[in-house]
């Protein structure tokens, strides 16, 4: 089971890297989705490890996917609103204080 | 060792499925042209070969040797990916269709969700193709196609949920046994109607063919495509049409169940009848406007499918307990 956890650690780090280094809001959302998938991978892996008959990890992964969908819907709505107000999806150009 | 065998089996059946979709497209294009001609009191293609039977063969040869044109400003990566992402899921969905009682490529335990999930990737292909072409018609066509696809996806999925509820399994093969006594079209007529109508929309047929409305959008998302890349869209369309008809047969018409004749004959016969109904509707009804199309999906089909779902669950529990 360790390889799965290592893989999900690497994927999570890639996601963190994306969120920290990118300035474009859509790319940042892509990176967040990568992080969420790394977490889901962990849950499914642990579901096999501890009491596979309870399926807790898989249920959590399904919930995670549902929450990710809600998050993407609201996040992209936010990005579109920002785009229409500031003409850019670059988070550094968005200065709320000057808004 | 057995793993290599399974891999080979998958590869072989992949080749078979692709060939099957090619053959289906060849036959259906001819069928469609003849049926439409009959309905409109025309003759249709008659010149190539006896009764025009070789017409689509000639078309295929033409498509394969035609020049592959790409507009100057088109995005090269997305332009190539678009047709592939449209055609590949259409073929992939054939994996779980049981053509006879045991004749299924792979009876996945989650076959029904698989069948609904995989064609969903087509939307990405349509959007990419429309975007990549750098053409106003393509862009608009791609957006409209995908908006229509996702609008009708939900009522269709909810209609399938009622079937799963009754059958108690997500495996496509179990559906055959579950429908041994009585096919689900009798128990779930509303689901059947919703499924058929929304499927017509999903495979972009009249009266739901706004995305390719020739008089408005030239050819929609595939305006800029030619030759073999264009024919991939064509394969996807007819492959998806047959897959949807086969799935309707499986979900509501009892699949290959039937007396005397072998299951394969029953299955293919029933699904061809469904395909004929699709073609019949296409050439009989006029086209909807874009706003009518969306209103129908969200204000008629979606509420109807929700009510149908709750009612079906309620009746099932009342009768079952």
């Amino acid at each position: 089971m360790t390889p799965v956890l290592i893989l999900s650690g690497i994927l999570f780090a890639i996601g963190v890297f994306g969120v920290l280094t990118r300035r474009n809001a859509i790319t940042m959302l892509v990176a967040v989705e990568i992080m969420m998938n790394a977490a889901n991978l962990n849950m499914v892996a642990f579901s096999r490890l501890y009491h596979p008959e309870l399926m807790t990890g898989q249920v959590l992964a399904v919930f995670g996917i549902g929450v990710a969908a809600s998050e993407a819907a609201v996040g992209l709505a936010l990005i579109l609103t920002i785009y229409r107000r500031y003409g850019s999806t670059d988070v550094d150009r968005v200065d709320l204080l000057k808004g | 060792m057995s793993t290599v065998l399974t891999l080979g089996e998958g590869f072989g059946l992949g080749v078979v499925a692709f060939t099957l979709v090619g053959a289906i497209t060849t036959v259906f294009v001819l069928l469609e042209r003849r049926v439409s001609a009959r309905i409109q009191m025309r003759v249709g293609p008659t010149r190539t070969g006896p009764h025009g039977l070789l017409q689509t063969i000639a078309d295929i040869v033409k498509l394969l040797v035609k020049e592959d044109v790409r507009p100057e400003y088109a995005d090269p990566v997305a332009f190539r990916l678009g047709p592939m992402l449209t055609a590949v899921p259409a073929v992939l969905s054939f994996v779980v269709i049981p053509f006879g009682a045991p004749l299924v490529m792979r009876a996945l335990n989650v076959g029904i969700v698989y069948f609904l999930a995989v064609p969903g990737m087509t939307v990405v292909g349509l959007l990419l193709a429309g975007w990549a072409s750098y053409d106003n018609y393509s862009f608009l066509g791609g957006l409209r196609s995908s908006a229509q696809f996702i609008s009708y996806e939900i009522p269709r999925t909810l209609a399938v949920v009622t079937v799963v509820m009754l059958a108690g399994s997500l495996n496509t093969v179990d559906l055959l046994d579950a429908q041994k006594p009585v096919p689900y079209i009798v128990l779930l007529p509303v689901s059947f109607v919703i499924y058929m109508a929304t499927t017509l929309a999903e495979v972009n047929r009249i009266p739901f063919d706004i995305p390719e409305a020739e008089s408005e959008l030239v050819a929609g998302y595939h305006t800029e495509y030619s030759g073999f890349r264009w024919s991939l869209f064509f394969l996807a369309e007819y492959g998806a049409l047959y897959a949807a008809a086969a799935f309707a047969t499986l979900l509501f018409l009892g699949g290959g169940n039937g007396p005397v004749l072998p299951a394969v004959v029953w299955f293919v016969g029933k699904s061809l009848v469904v395909v004929f109904v699709f073609m019949w509707v296409r050439w009989t009804l006029p086209r909807f406007r874009a706003d009518q199309l969306m209103r129908l999906a969200w204000k008629v089909f979606l509420p109807a499918s929700l009510v149908n779902l709750v009612l079906a669950a309620f009746v099932m529990m009342a009768v079952g307990s």
Partner: protein
Amino acid sequence: MTASDVLFIIFGVIAAACALYGVLTRYLLRSIVALGAFLTAVAGEFYLLAADFVAVVQIFVYVGGIVVLMLFALMLSTSGERQPLAGSDRRGLGSLLAYVLGGMVVWATVGTRLPVVPGRLPASVPYLGRALLGGQVFAFEVLGVILLAAVVAALALVRSERL
């Protein structure tokens, strides 16, 4: 080395490569397409881990839903440029942090002996449904509330700016 180990490595390499390309490329469209490929590879991993339902749900909701939503958002937020590019980025501290975090996670994982509580592995679908309506029913209803809140919030955001 069994077949599923080989498949695990193949899917893992594809997933990591696509994730890396997705966060590195300057082309917004390709970033989203790479996310789609990444999600498909992760779905393959789910299936290998005996979570077949989660795998198809991943394709259903992520590839057929979230990726499409992102493509729509991209197409609604370009101003006619030929190839929408992301602006300049800040590397440096962020990448250092990511390296440190990734290294720590991998180090911790390799160093830990995971206790295994074995149990019978059931066919996933019926048990998943029972778990959803059994022990997890509260979370199930909360997810309904989250979905409702998401619709209301996102619509409020989008509607606040009239075109």
